[in-house]
Amino acid sequence: MSIGLEHYLILSAILFSIGLYGVLAKRNAIVILMSIEIMLNAVNITMVAFSRYIVPSLLTGQVFAIFIMVVAAAEAAVGLAIIIAIYRSRETIESIKFDLMKW
């Protein structure tokens, strides 16, 4: 059986679930950010697969994927900067110890 739209969608669903597990179950804040990157990549695969198989001549899904990449780059830069700033003041990057905004 040849590769179709469903194969790509299932692949991206599996990658998204792995990222979801990482975000929910990990303590290290950098690993959480890495899992978020995996989830964003899974969404990108979905966008490009829809663009390839549903509207092959329009490329709208690929344009959306480019914008998702821009937002992901901005998110990674700001997120890692926040983690480094917290590490400076708290000497830890465990997400359960980030309680600066708790009262």
Binding site: I18, L24, I38, Q62, A73
Partner: protein
Amino acid sequence: MGLDIAFWILAVVGIATALMVVLLRNVFRAALSLVLCLLTVAGIYVTLSADFLAAVQVLIYVGGIAVLIILAIMLTREVQQGSPSNKLRVPAFIISILFLGVVGFALLNTPWQVSTALPLEPTTSALAVKLFGKGGFILAVEIAASLLLAAILGAIVLVREK
């Protein structure tokens, strides 16, 4: 036929490396397997005949974000402690499996209107027309530029020594 084999290899390697990212205890090794995972996603783009996106994926993710993450790991010196799971490990696993089941069920039971037309190749000039041409996404491109500027400034302000 060659496309099928390439897809299966890329899918297996991508899922295995993504699992390594969330399961390995050494944070640095997890980051290295994240790099491999991002590279296989670029390969997936190639099998979907999205050549420009594959190049952008390698440039931005493997070249930029991966280096950023590895630098952050080295700056925070928590490699020895590893990345243990928290108390929510079993509920998180159950939620992920449930999510995968629901999404997979919905995906397999939807009648997609798959087009039989051949994909555009190469995509670079068509993407440029789509982004910058008449009736395109030029406003979104401008907003993305200002978002990137704000993100750069924010990152600089956050990491600067007081």
